[in-house]
């Protein structure tokens, strides 16, 4: 954020009869305009008459000209003094002409949605139920442009929405069916021993510890990992990544971090949903076998422990991170040419599933050692 002008601009504010005189000196470039903007704006608000003394201005860029013209508008009228005819005056005239040209039909919906989005964002951070609305309104309203060292929250929310909320239906359905199938399959041998009452133990433990996180991860790899790879791959092929780099923006901070965070946050939720839907499916089978819901719940309470659930959810978060990493990596590493995007998406799904199975193995050993 270094100033390019050798002599950074200064602003001198003096009363001038009933009005004010704003004297600028030095190089009025974008950096200087940004620095002086709030002070100059305050000084010009509703002032009459306003004089803009530009005798000492040595350089001017579009942003500087925009500041001067905005000041003029703020005071309704201003007198420009001291700007020598030449390139600076020409730039000011050109900028004025461009701003005076009637712009596109204002789209009231967008700025309004943007404001709603921003206000809601401030209040409802953490209120997960609002994420869908936020994601959509932010997506439409805000450009989601943030400096790279700060995390781009709108981007995170968008990805939470796309990776999470939009997967809820699928996750619930699959979870329910898996619970149903597991319970039904195990009921056949269990019946031979008259041990149907232990079906909830079997299904509950395998869901919470293994199948819930794993199936949720497979869904995430298929839906989100591939989407990450395709999005970033398209950007790579379109030279958008190069464009970011040339603007001095780190693509990792700008593009990858929000996606990783979203994948990691969303996975425990998906796994939990998977678990609950699976248990529900199992309860349905238990119902047809003649066990009331109370019996199932009692059985679960007695045999399934919190650590089973928590361990599974922690694993899920880990899977999410892995899938996000593999997907983003595949996208940013996309090659050249039209096939590159498809290849990246394939690599993301295959790599994602392989990595979660490996991670699952590692964590099985780890949890065993830890005595979980």
């Amino acid at each position: 954020m270094s100033a390019t002008a050798p002599d950074p601009a200064t602003l001198d504010i003096r009363p001038d009869g009933p009005g004010r005189r704003l004297a600028f000196r030095g190089g009025l470039d974008a950096a200087a305009a940004a620095r002086l903007w709030p002070e100059a704006m305050r000084a010009a608000r509703g002032v009459h008459p306003l004089t803009l003394d530009l005798g000492g201005v040595t350089a001017l860029d579009t942003a500087g000209a925009v500041l001067l013209l905005r000041l003029e508008r703020e005071a309704h009228r201003a007198e420009f003094q001291g700007l020598a005819a030449g390139p600076l005056q020409a730039l000011l005239d050109r900028t004025r002409a461009a701003l005076d040209r009637p712009g596109p039909k204002p789209q009231p919906a967008l700025p309004f949605l943007g404001r709603v989005g921003e206000a809601t964002l401030r209040r409802a951070r953490g209120a997960a139920g609002q994420v869908a609305f936020l994601g959509e309104s932010l997506l439409a309203g805000l450009g989601a442009l943030r400096a790279p060292w700060r995390l781009r929250w709108p981007e995170v929310l968008r990805h939470l929405d796309e990776a999470g909320l939009r997967a809820f239906g699928l996750t619930t359905l699959l979870g329910f069916l898996i619970g149903l199938i597991l319970a039904f399959q195990s009921s056949i041998p269990m019946k031979q021993f008259g041990a149907e009452i232990f079906i909830p133990n079997l299904v509950g433990i395998s869901l919470l510890r293994e199948l819930g996180p794993l199936m949720a991860a497979v869904i995430l790899a298929g839906r989100t990992g591939s989407a990450y790879a395709a999005e970033l791959g398209t950007m790579t092929v379109n030279e958008e990544i190069d464009a970011l780099r040339i603007m001095g923006i780190d693509p990792i901070a700008w593009l990858v971090l929000p996606r990783l965070l979203a994948a990691m946050l969303v996975m425990p939720v998906l796994a939990l949903l998977m678990n609950l839907a699976g248990l529900l499916g199992m309860s349905v089978v238990m119902g047809t076998l003649g066990f009331p819901l109370v019996a199932v719940v009692n059985q679960l309470q007695a045999w399934v422990h919190l650590k089973d659930l928590v361990g599974g959810l922690a694993k899920a978060a880990m899977f999410g991170l892995a899938i996000g990493l593999v997907g983003c990596r595949a996208g940013l590493g996309a090659g050249r040419g039209p096939r590159a995007v498809g290849d990246a998406a394939t690599a993301a799904v295959v790599g994602g599933i392989v990595s979660i199975v490996l991670l699952d193995g590692v964590s099985a050993v780890l949890f065993f050692r830890l005595g979980w």
Partner: protein, 255 residues
Amino acid sequence: MPGTPEAEAVIRVRDLAARFDGRTIFEHVTFDVRRGEVFVILGGSGCGKSTLLKHMIGLYAPAEGSIEILGVRMDGLDGAARVALLRRIGVMWQSGALFGSSTLAENIGVPLEEHTDLPAEARDMVARVKLGLVGLADAAGRLPAEISGGMAKRAGIARAMALDPPILFLDEPSAGLDPITSAGLDALIRQLARDLGTTFVVVTHELQSILAIGDRCIMLDKEAKGMIAEGDPRRLRDESRNPVVRAFFRREVLA
């Protein structure tokens, strides 16, 4: 005066070589770009024009030789010095490279937000000015997918100009456009060079564009793996003795 020998060199390329995995794309490339001129890099497809451009803006490190922009060595530059230099150049990419999920105005806001602390209102006003300069004032709120190819190129130029850089790099501005749109773009480039005094480095293989906009040019060749001509494109057309150059300018097929 643009293009006159007295104008100082803003870019110096010396004995540059580009290699990918040991394969030489070009070598011994040496030329100057002077302040205020429209400098054209020309040559057939695949001869390394985009590669040369990406070397000039520091995206690829030279295998040999050096590049100096505005008196600063490009290779090995990093941190604040690199960012300071990047602010002073703008790039329009061969494929447009507009950010697909942002409107045109927001696209132009990206470099402004990144490199300045201008308030959103100011960024928006600058974006409107830039879009006005390229004749897209009405399209500020549109997404890149909703505009035509010619408009996307114009928007790419507007974004490249966001920070008023003294040097603009354009990669194949007229590729994939119909002749009329392409001629309009050429006129725009000439007009911007004249009005803003910006130095342009334009990569193209379109003969019409080269003759319409170029003050000076160099020509790269795939077979020669390097430069085969340098100078005023109109003079090259009329006077060059190199058979490849003559063939290119006269649209002949080499025997």
